[in-house]
Amino acid sequence: MRGYSRQQPELDALRGETMSAQDDHCEKPDSVVQYLDPRAQSRRDFLQHTGTAVVASAALGSVSMQASQAAPLEVAASALTRLNLTVNGRAQQLLVDPRWTLVEVLRDQLDLTGTKIGCNRSECGACTVLMNGKPVYACSQLAVWADGMEVQTVEGLAQNGRLSPLQQAFVDNNGPQCGFCTSGQLMSATALLRNNPSPDAAQVRMALVGNLCRCSNYMAIVEAVVATGANA
């Protein structure tokens, strides 16, 4: 009944241990709390202890673990790493801090703010983008992992100023209420429609199950995606 969340305990475990604690600013009171709430580990802790070192050495080779641990926060220019990726069809060469997530780079470096940060820990799907055609949570991808990849965001859906049929269906069917989850819903649905041009409602619901909508406009969103397929 609970779909996605209930059916993927392994993903649950992964979230709890690694991805989930970003931006957790509550001070850690004691180890009991850490036990009670795996999210009490911060992104900084996680990346400092594992991610940064691993990723930095993978990307640059020459950066020592000692250096990244000793001064992990004041990132010297030399600690920036080169990132090549294609975003919405345009090749981009960027220097990025290894700690930056893909959604940070999209929003802060490329000013593609259509991709939203709802939870920053793989819960809500507001940050969904397509990486080599597959929907991913951009909050839980380090930007360097996207090296060499093609990324598509909501800004890349319209062609020559014309909305995609899916976007138009969202306009016609009141797909957005507050609109904050909309770009994520659109990206997951775009991926679905590429694989299944005329999905039924049940298929749409399963494909979009990782995209929460607190306005709970789920019915209108599904109606919009189904209408897109029916009109294709």
């Binding site: 009944m1 999210r39 939870c119 209420q177 659109l186 619901r205 929460l212």
Partner: protein, 721 residues
């Protein structure tokens, strides 16, 4: 039954399903939400929060944080003592300046002692968010941990730890630590007249508003003028609150919010983030963007107050109510941000009634308004209780309701009354008599099917708001309204009302909203008031403009004609309500404990519907939120440590696409002659009945009365153990 109103048919613009005026911006990524705005030289800010449920700060050393390269400002309770007036209000009167001024238990932007896990301790502004995060970890705080209390009833025990020195009953607006009492008639006489008396206890959980957009604030000073780009569902109130808290005049503060990622009641005032960002920006002499994480938003903003409700009901053998008594406790967290009230009893006609509600301090996170602030949990309690009473005296709950629900009287007329119409229409659309089990729990087998029902009325009163409308020599109209579109479609609704009132197509009307420097006062997107109140001001401004055009002709050249209106409408002493009835069919797996909703019919009378598309989706979305409240959502605390265990979507178990049942929405449309073209409340109405209707359906299916929200698998399994 109904009074003779003309049948409502679509007008020129109103009544037609209409795409939002900003729909394209919402689907192509160009809509700028507060966190999407960047200013040159902007700093990023983070807040340090208490790890303890109750702790005195003995010392705080921010020297290492201040010394970190890239850090521009660090503030704590020692160097930034700013009262957050709307964060704690005696009496919970959110729009009352005198109450905020007189508040006994003041809340500051940083509090010592810290009174819940997540209470704000300090904040940092730095060149980027990672540096700001690191600086937080360098702030050394020495805490003395204090005893804490989590449950409202336990908090009233003599030996309970005191959240505030005076005690744990939240003060009323006179600063007396008294409960909210509302009595009528003679309760003892009512019970004496009863053939039978029934009692029940119901409790409901804390539900976070959980809007998709985490709260943030971008503050920017130009001289002594502050601009805040901040998610706000009430820019005028946010401006006034911020100015008051910072010692400024209203005109020195500008609130901008063009798009907002949902609110559901948690931001019609200013938030502490607004004050913290403004203070950091002043100290650092640069724009400051303060961002909250999802966990911070969960613990640092607010959600629906958890409650415990005791009812005692006297009834005649024929089902006539003789007495209604309620005693309830609302857990407000350590600050009284809003009332803590519980509604529902007033929907019944009963001469003898007594109601006492204790708003109680605890060391949980703060409670406050959430879509129908006092309603869904109150209606869950009273309508579960009444469903139980009906069952015990052998009546169909629909018949029991028709016998006892509040109806217009000579003493209290209504502008119109269609509750009975809603209920009867619902019974037909749902096929109530067939789907309901005559004997609850009689469905054979492990998976039991049954049907439940709930009804409501909810205020749709008129009130004052403002609008300005302008026309240029090209015949183009611009409407200025201080609304923000937090999701329901206020900009579009205002545009449609203006187009109708002006007699022009919607495409000829631009809507300027979401900016206090450009727009007049508006009531804010709370209490389902925008359509009724600001919409009515739009109608009046449009009338004025049409009169000017008739008198002077259209403007020429660079001239414009402008009309403004701040009407003070009344309902001539009549009660104005919207009405609704919900019918739910569930399938309860008594071995797995799961509840599946197999049919849901919602009938609403919300006056004339301005935009059928967005209104339908308001109701559907509200119902889904209400189902979440009924079956899943909760913020658990560890009783030993006082730590919140489930802050976040995944752990609070919010509904996903996979959980959505089929929902049929039907409107009975009436134009009662009040409000803009007869429009009434809609946005909050949909959530009010869902928890009660689902719970009553579970009773009808299983024969087990579920008295505690959320009705989780565990609770159903325990009931069947």
């Amino acid at each position: 039954m109904s009074e003779a109103f003309e049948p409502v048919t679509p007008l020129q613009t109103i009544g037609h399903a209409t795409a939002r005026v900003d729909a394209i911006e919402r689907v192509n990524g160009s809509a700028k939400y507060s966190r999407d705005i960047k200013l040159p030289g902007m700093l990023y800010a983070r807040v340090l929060r208490s790890p303890h449920p109750h702790a005195r700060i003995l010392s705080i050393d921010a020297s290492a944080a201040s010394a970190l390269p890239g850090v521009r400002a660090v503030i704590t309770h020692e160097n930034a003592q700013i009262v957050w007036g709307s964060g704690s209000i005696s009496g919970g009167r959110q729009y009352s300046d005198p109450s905020k001024d007189a508040t006994l238990h003041r809340r500051y932007i940083f509090n010592n002692p810290a009174r819940h896990v997540g209470d704000s301790i300090a904040a940092v502004a730095a060149v980027d968010r990672h540096t700001a995060e690191h600086a937080l970890s360098l702030i050394k705080v020495a805490y003395e941990q204090l005893p804490f209390v989590l449950e409202p009833e336990a908090a009233l025990a003599d030996a309970a730890p005191k959240v505030w020195p005076e005690g744990n009953v939240c003060p009323d607006f006179r600063n007396n630590l008294e409960p909210m009492v509302s009595n009528a008639g003679d309760i003892d006489a009512g019970f004496a007249a009863a053939d039978e008396v029934f009692e029940g206890r119901y409790d409901t959980a804390f539900i976070h508003n959980a809007q998709m957009e985490p709260r943030c604030a971008l503050a920017h000073w130009e001289g002594d003028k502050l601009t805040l780009y901040t998610p706000s569902q009430g820019i005028s109130n946010c401006r006034h609150d911020t100015a008051r808290d910072l010692g400024l005049e209203d005109h020195q503060v500008r609130i901008v919010c063009n798009y907002m990622g949902g609110g559901f009641g948690n931001k019609n005032q200013n938030q502490d983030t607004d004050l913290i960002a403004a203070t950091l920006s002043k100290r650092a002499n640069a724009p400051v963007m303060l961002e909250m994480s999802r966990r911070e938003d969960w613990l640092g903003v607010h959600g629906r107050w958890p409650t415990v409700q005791y009812y005692k009901i006297g009834v005649k053998q024929d089902g006539t109510l003789t007495a209604m008594q309620m005693r309830a406790y609302s857990g407000m967290g350590p600050y009284r941000k809003n009332s803590g009230g519980l509604s529902g009893m007033e929907a019944y006609a009963c001469e003898h009634r007594a109601r006492t509600i204790f708003p109680v301090y605890t060391n949980r996170t703060t409670s406050g308004n959430f879509r129908g602030p006092s309603e869904p949990h109150g209606f869950f309690g009273i309508e579960s209780m009444m469903d139980d009473v009906a069952f015990r005296i052998g009546m169909d709950p629909v018949q029991f309701t028709l016998k006892n629900m509040l109806r217009p009287t000579d003493a209290q007329p209504f502008t119109n009354y269609s509750l009975e119409d809603c209920i009867l229409r619902g019974t037909e659309l749902f096929d109530w008599s067939t789907r309901r089990q005559a004997i609850p729990g009689s469905d054979p087998g492990a998976i039991k099917r049954g049907a439940g029902f709930a009804f409501m009325m909810f205020r749709a009163g008129v009130g004052s708001s403002s609008a300005i409308v302008r026309v240029d020599s090209k015949g183009h109209y611009t409407l200025f309204v201080g609304v923000t579109d937090i999701g329901p479609g206020a900009k579009t609704t205002m545009g449609m009302i203006a187009a109708e009132a002006l007699g022009v197509p919607l495409a000829q009307v631009d809507v300027v909203a979401g900016d206090t420097d450009r727009c007049p006062y508006s009531v804010g997107e709370s209490g389902s008031r925008t359509t009724i109140m600001t919409g009515y001001a739009v109608v009046e401004a449009a009338k004025d403009l049409k009169q000017q055009i008739a008198a002077q002709g259209m403007p020429t050249g660079n001239a414009v004609l402008i009309a403004s209106a701040t009407p003070q409408p009344t309902t001539d002493g009549k009660s104005r309500q919207c009405f609704g009835a919900h019918f739910v069919e569930v399938e309860v797996d008594t071995q797995l404990g799961t509840t599946r909703i197999s049919k849901y019919v919602a009938v609403h009378e919300s006056g004339r519907i301005i935009n059928p598309q967005t209104t339908r989706d308001q109701i559907r979305g509200a119902i889904i939120q209400g189902i979440g409240q009924a079956l899943y959502e909760d913020l658990h605390y560890d009783p030993a440590s006082g730590q919140p265990l489930t802050p976040g979507y995944y752990r609070a178990r919010h509904l996903t696409h996979a959980d959505i049942p089929p929902i049929e929405v039907d409107f009975i449309e009436v134009d009662d002659g009040y409000g803009p073209f007869g429009a009434k409340t809609a946005g909050e109405a949909g959530i009010i009945m869902a928890p009660a209707a689902v719970a009553n359906a579970i009773f009808n299916a299983t024969g087990k009365r579920m008295t505690s929200l959320p009705i989780t698998r565990n609770k159903i399994l325990e009931a069947h153990a």
